[in-house]
């Protein structure tokens, strides 16, 4: 079959990535198994459940909560969650008066060790620009309506800091265990585009 595709299409990022891996491997700079390991780890192991455990512990242990707010990276590291993009995690706490939401306007930085890799919408240019410009409108479009008297704080990730939102513990969950609480905590709540529900 004649190759009628144009150059841009033929040099898709897929084929460029394959070529780059091949060249790096030839030079002994990467190993296929090591790459497989990173992929497996991020696809299967690291995910928002790590962050959910952090949140649930903070909800049930006042001392841990204080520590978490003072030194996010340290407190998160105590639970065994560390790694790239987890070096400088700052935890910001929601309250009746303040709602926090996280964005990375420049490049989609995200606290990988606690939330895994970012979802599609987090990387979207519209999310990245609009969350700074019109957070209330965007949050509302994403299904989170906030009262007018709630202050919205938008945290823009940087080389120095990644942010994790500590959501409010839902009412009616006093009898739940830490594990049960963790199961309520969603990724979206920890980015700040949703609240945690009680079921």
């Amino acid at each position: 079959m004649a190759d009628s595709t144009n150059t841009a299409e033929r040099l898709s990022p897929a084929v460029r990535a394959e070529a780059l891996e091949s060249l790096l491997a030839e030079r002994g700079l990467v190993k296929s198994e090591v790459l497989d390991g990173f992929i497996n780890r991020f696809v299967h192991d690291v995910g928002p459940m790590n962050g959910a455990k952090v949140v649930a512990k903070a909800w049930t242990d006042a001392e841990y909560r204080a520590q978490l707010l003072a030194d996010g990276t340290g407190a998160i590291g105590q639970l065994g969650f560390a790694g790239p993009q987890g070096e400088h995690i700052v935890v910001v706490e929601n309250s009746d008066d303040v709602h926090n939401v996280v964005v990375c306007t420049l490049c989609s930085c995200y606290p990988w060790p606690v939330l895994g890799l970012p979802p599609e919408w987090y990387k979207d240019p519209a999310y990245r620009s609009r969350m700074v410009r019109e957070p209330r409108t965007l949050l509302s479009e994403m299904g989170l309506d906030l009262d007018d008297d709630v202050e919205v704080r938008v945290w823009d990730s940087s080389a120095e800091n990644r942010y994790l939102v500590l959501p409010q513990r839902p009412e009616g969950t006093e009898d739940l265990s830490e594990e049960e609480l963790a199961s309520l905590v969603t990724r979206d709540a920890m980015v700040g585009v949703a609240k945690v529900g009680s079921d």
Partner: protein, 123 residues
């Protein structure tokens, strides 16, 4: 150093609001190459991030089609490995051209993710 993680049990459900981490296999390969090179100290994460920001900004100053994060990632990776003299851009171009010229059926560029550097099918 690798975190110990439960993937089952009561704390697992938050994954349900996750979604596919990578849309295509090459995105995972590109992601992992950057991770591996950072881990081995060929460049720092912050330096990679600077290249990623630059790649994102290049696209945003002249948007071309749909924004695809891992395409920018791949572009950033190519630019940093060239800067560090690990792999020149022209080498990637040449080998990618060769891969792209493989007969149909072998590969349409989107699914293939051969594990290693053992290609001998230069057209």
């Amino acid at each position: 150093m690798a975190p110990t993680l439960d993937i089952e049990g009561p704390a697992a459900p938050p994954r349900l609001n996750g979604e596919l981490v990578f849309d295509a296999p090459w995105e995972g390969r590109s992601f992992a190459m950057a991770m591996a090179l950072v881990e081995d100290g060929w460049f720092s994460w912050d330096d990679f991030r600077d290249h990623l920001i630059a790649a994102v900004q290049r696209w945003e100053s002249a948007p071309d089609g749909e924004y695809r994060y891992y395409e920018r990632w791949q572009e950033a990776l190519e630019s940093i490995v060239a800067e560090r003299a690990l792999v020149a851009g022209s080498e990637v171009d040449t080998l990618a051209e060769a891969f792209a010229a493989r007969p149909p059926g072998h590969d349409h560029g989107d699914h293939h993710h051969d594990h290693g550097g053992h290609h001998h099918d230069h057209a």
